[in-house]
Amino acid sequence: MTRPPTQGSRAPRAVVIGGSAGAMTVLASLLPALPASYPVPVVIVVHLPAEGPDGVADVLHHRCEIAVKEAEDKESLAPGTVYVAPSDYHVLVEQSGYLSLSCEEPVRYARPSIDVLFESAADAYGAALVAVVLSGANEDGADGVRAVCRSGGVALVQAPKTAEMPAMPAAAMAACAQARVLSPRGITEYLCAICGGRHVS
């Protein structure tokens, strides 16, 4: 049952990103750097109060080449698409490659929960997963990152000193010693490079 901890030994088949306060700023520069032909799906949980019906997805959609949409229940994950968790629902990745929504209890006061997304994605993709923890003021994501590392996936954490709110990245670093700590620019370059996408200049 244990997998060898060979981080990043497999070509990633999905990227998951979690963040809270201060994360939108980073996403607003990160996602526009991803090409429309980005070869894997990206799933995002950001804790934010709902700003209208499609909140976060709506804000990001206009600035990006890559398709950005709100995650829907039982939607198949497709490359070149960013799926954003709707407010007040958890998003989970199923092993057969689609998303499920859930109204279960908040986890660490959060719904959507980064841990719930990351743990399910780690279970579905194993070592072929890249998980990214951005700025935030709580510790959601730490358990998720631990699960990702345990399955052999890659964890990237925004360097706390570059984060508006350092608590979330700091907790993720403490949870997972193998996590790579990068600036927002470093994260963007990593995500572009791993999949043969263009580099930010």
């Binding site: 229940d73 092993q95 279970d123």
Partner: protein, 278 residues
């Protein structure tokens, strides 16, 4: 999706669900696995079991495990007048149609602990439909049904429920419908005098009445797509022509093979109407 052989935990989980079905006829095999696995992992901690296989053994040999396990298998998170816009649309746009029927049947499918049922019962009283309506509140979890029938909720949830109720277009206060006793809100028992509480499974049971309005909100998200289709097929069969189906705010019929058999009545609020002659 995964090319490597399925992990042992997944095999054990499947066997546990098989055992649950063969022994107790509770069929969770068509549920969304990621969420079910998460909830059952919590159950492992609660029962002190190191693996799903050990839990399976306990389940098969100790009948007292089943009701406690059902707490984990079914999701009982709910609130009254959740998504107030849904209820506002019911009042404004659906009630006028319902008023044309001499008698009305409403089915709250997957009623859990009853929050949705009481919301509808209150709305129907406020809109003058209560006296001609029969409510069917169904669920597979007997403990949830008991709590639904009791109609007692934690008092600290009333602030949210009251606000939701007000935003649903109510003309009076939610506190008119309950009495506070210590830290509990006890809802007026006359609200449920027109309700039939019943054990019913969307997985394995069939249609039991001709229905004008079905509310099944945030239940289908726990099903995989084939099972969602089975449930939607049941709703289609149960609804009268032009009957209404209300889903959760993030649920849709778009991916269902029954999509052509329904019209989008209030798309934003996810209220559908059964089409003409199908």
């Amino acid at each position: 999706m995964r090319t490597a052989p399925a992990q042992r935990g997944d095999v054990e989980l499947r066997l546990l669900l098989d055992a649950l079905y063969e022994t107790y006829q509770y069929d969770f095999r068509g549920y969304s696995m990621a969420s079910l696995k998460r909830r059952l992992s919590h159950a492992l901690e609660r029962f002190g079991c190191p693996s799903f296989s050990v839990l399976q053994h306990k389940l098969l040999h100790d009948a007292s495990v089943l009701p406690r396990l059902l707490e984990y298998l079914t999701v009982t998170v709910s609130e009254m007048f959740r998504d107030p816009g849904f209820f506002r649309t019911l009042r404004q746009d659906v009630v006028p149609h319902l008023k044309t029927y001499p008698s009305i049947k409403v089915w709250v499918a997957g009623c859990s602990t009853g929050e949705e049922l009481y919301s509808l019962a209150i709305l129907f009283r406020e809109e003058g439909l209560e006296a001609r309506t029969t409510f069917y509140a169904t669920d597979i979890n007997p403990d949830s049904l008991k709590r639904a029938e009791a109609g007692v909720y934690e008092l600290d949830r009333m602030a949210l429920f009251t606000d939701n109720h007000r935003r649903s277009g109510a003309r009076c206060s939610l506190s008119d419908y309950y009495t506070a006793a210590y830290d509990a809100a006890v809802f007026d028992k006359t609200l449920r005098r027109r309700t039939v509480f019943s054990d019913h499974s969307l997985v394995s049971d069939s249609v039991f009445a001709e229905i004008q309005l079905i509310s099944c909100r945030n239940v289908l998200i726990y099903f995989d797509r084939p099972l969602q289709d089975r449930a939607i097929g049941l709703f289609h069969e149960a609804l009268v022509r032009n009957g209404f189906l209300g889903l959760g705010a993030k649920e849709t019929l778009r991916f269902s093979r029954y999509a052509p058999a329904f019209a989008e009545f209030a798309p934003r609020e996810r209220i559908y109407r059964k089409g003409g002659d199908r």
